[in-house]
Amino acid sequence: MREGPLMLLLFRSTREVISAEEILRAAHIACRIIPVPRIISSECGMAIEIDAYDGEAVMSLLQHINPKRYDNEHTTEI
């Protein structure tokens, strides 16, 4: 990951997270699975963190999954 603003992607299910991670890795886009910050959800599962710089490309690749996007402060849905 670069040093810079990050973006958080939130998914409905584990399957969606894993599918998204595979797509991003195949596209050589840096990503990291992290726990879902409490401030945006009481979810007990996984979220994906990416460079905000890659946001548009990522959303295009994940159009069929359509995750929710949050800014690097993990507070604001984009």
Partner: protein, 370 residues
């Protein structure tokens, strides 16, 4: 020599990677499916999802998203029968108790009507006579794709054409991996991992259209929408409450990735049945036509108790078979072998011509003394 002929109950042997993958999960990978973020949990979740995709590919399903893991085919069938509304059901005549028992409960609790589709002497559905039936568009149709008693394969495509509007549930417990069908043409299909798919026990799947409209049979934690008390509407979570059989799913993935080429042909199977049928005193429960025959059949010997016959095959020849009604009393009623049942011979891809020769010799010797 492979003397295990009870693969319709549980297949054996498995590809060696099945045990290796189960052990890899239990000894090395560990961790939960979903529910956490650390690499161990991600690796488990990734493998479970790869297994889902591999199984969808293996059964020819278009959309892995519509495939949910279950404990076995019985579990998958119960999800459908208890999760949708219907007042009347039409069954193939060779159904297993996996269907009959939940339907019997629904008969008593909800007053559903149960009808049997017309069939030929071997239990294969007579599609010509089906055309004259008064079937309502909202009736459910349930078809055991391959009988677990005589191996008859049902004409799924013709039935789909005759009943284009009806919901059809296919029980593919016995046919998976050996008789292909277009799973996307049907509303629901139930699979088990531990028979023809060569996976571990406790694995199975339900594939279907519109599964999000089916009520879940089991409710509980899914690692998603945790703030809510209702089950998620999306798949696969809607039907996967509780931690799944992760070790089993790892093993099933190992089986699907390393599925063996069959060591015998369909022609050799038919020749085996013909050779056994030619033995004096032996009667065979089989399909009337070779192209309707799946990879199992049943036999009886003179008027001997099938249990005595099966015991003799084991005690003197170490041949392992399944004896009795095979949890399918209605199938045996249809075939005229109720209540005695039969001795079932069910094959695996690992059986070779030499195993068949040994089996024929053993049956021949038993027939002379029983």
């Amino acid at each position: 020599m492979n003397l295990y002929f009870d693969n319709a109950a549980t297949s054996f042997p498995k590809p060696p990677q099945v045990a290796a993958e189960c052990a890899r999960y239990l000894c090395e990978v560990g961790g939960p499916y979903g529910r956490a973020f650390y690499p161990r949990a991600v690796e488990v979740s990734r493998t479970v999802e790869r297994a889902r995709e591999a199984l969808a590919r293996f059964i020819g399903a278009r959309d892995p998203q519509q495939l949910v893991f279950t404990a076995n085919a019985t579990h998958a069938i119960n999800i459908v029968l208890k999760g949708i509304e219907f007042n009347r059901v039409w069954l193939s005549p060779l159904e297993h108790n996996a269907l009959w028992r939940p339907l019997f409960r629904l008969l008593h609790e909800k007053g559903i009507e149960i009808n049997i589709l017309p069939c030929e002497s071997d239990g294969r559905i007579d599609t010509q006579r089906c055309k004259g039936l008064l079937v309502n568009a909202d009736d459910l149709i349930v078809i055991n794709h391959q009988s677990n008693v005589n191996g008859v394969v049902q004409p799924l495509d013709e039935l789909r054409e005759i009943f284009p509007e009806n919901r059809i549930l296919v029980d593919a417990a016995q046919s998976a991996a050996s008789v292909a069908f277009n799973v996307d043409k049907f509303d629901f299909a139930a699979f088990t991992g531990h028979k023809g798919l060569l996976g571990p026990t406790g694995t199975g799947a339900l594939y279907g259209k519109n599964l999000s409209e089916v009520r879940p049979l089991i409710e509980g934690g899914t690692g998603s929408l945790s703030h809510g008390v209702e089950m998620p509407g999306f798949l696969p979570d809607r039907f996967e409450a509780g931690t799944p059989n992760i070790a089993g799913i790892f093993g099933l993935y190992g089986a699907l990735q390393n599925y063996p080429e069959a060591c015998h042909t369909h022609g050799e199977l038919l020749a085996l049945i013909d050779d056994i049928a030619a033995i004096g005193g032996i009667s065979v429960l089989r399909a009337s036509r070779g192209d309707h025959q799946g990879n199992l059949f049943s036999i009886n010997c003179n008027n001997a108790d099938p249990a005595h016959f099966a015991r003799k095959l084991f005690d003197e020849f170490q041949i392992e078979t399944r004896v009795g009604l095979h949890c399918a009393p209605e199938a045996h009623r249809t075939l005229g072998s109720y209540p005695g049942g039969s001795v079932r011979i069910s094959l695996s891809p690992y059986h070779r011509a030499a195993d068949f020769e040994y089996l024929i010799g053993a049956v021949n010797k038993c027939a002379k003394v029983l």
